[in-house]
């Protein structure tokens, strides 16, 4: 699939890198298809670029290299709707926010992770309402 990205330029992405979020992300209900792009700067990071809106992209991170104790408890309805049978079926990504003017300039949203079925590539932003995970967990390098 050909994707135009304001941030990354024109991309020719294999179909198996296209992710579908049927409900969109929270606050972005209209954008349901994204391509996942690995980036050179850090192996744990991925870009999610909307296939429909060239201006909409998110930097995301695989949480565990930074937060080894992170245990998002995904509710039964979500696991069933996504067709997840075991944790290994899922890709989990957390949205990254960069604020250059903050003491913690790079943070990850652990409260609302993206949970994606690695096989069907269908995902959802899960709100872990009963957890105490923060939306701004500082990413601290090693």
């Amino acid at each position: 699939v050909l994707v135009h990205s304001e941030r990354l330029g024109d991309l020719d992405v294999p179909d198996d890198k296209v992710l579908t979020f049927p409900e969109g992300l929270v606050g972005f209900p209209g954008d349901t298809r994204f391509v996942m792009i690995e980036i050179e700067e850090g192996a744990s990071y991925r870009w999610l670029q909307s296939t429909d809106d060239p201006t909409l992209s998110f930097l995301t991170v695989i949480p565990w290299p930074f937060f080894p104790d992170y245990e998002p408890e995904v509710d039964d309805v979500t696991t069933q709707e996504l067709g997840l049978h075991q944790p290994a079926d899922a890709i989990v990504l957390c949205l990254v926010t960069v604020r250059d003017d903050s003491p913690d300039p790079v943070t990850a949203n652990l409260l609302g992770p993206l949970v994606i079925n690695a096989v069907s590539r269908v995902g959802r932003q899960v709100v872990l309402a009963e957890s105490s995970y923060p939306t701004r967990a500082a990413l601290v390098g090693g």
Partner: protein, 74 residues
Amino acid sequence: MLVLSRRANQSIVIGTDVIVTVLEVRGDHVRLGIQAPRTVTVHREEVFAEIQRENRSAAAFSGDSLSNLPKPPG
């Protein structure tokens, strides 16, 4: 905004399949029971708003400082 008065154990129906019941009122604290189809997601407004705000901040990232991204420990 539609405003309805309800007592404990009384409900309102939204559409045909969402039922919100007042379970208990104690001071300024109200406990609600919500019966909705599995496809309807229900969140506390402030949690939903916080995620939405953070998503917007994440989308606004200009991408100039990618080389400064922290590398995982170890």
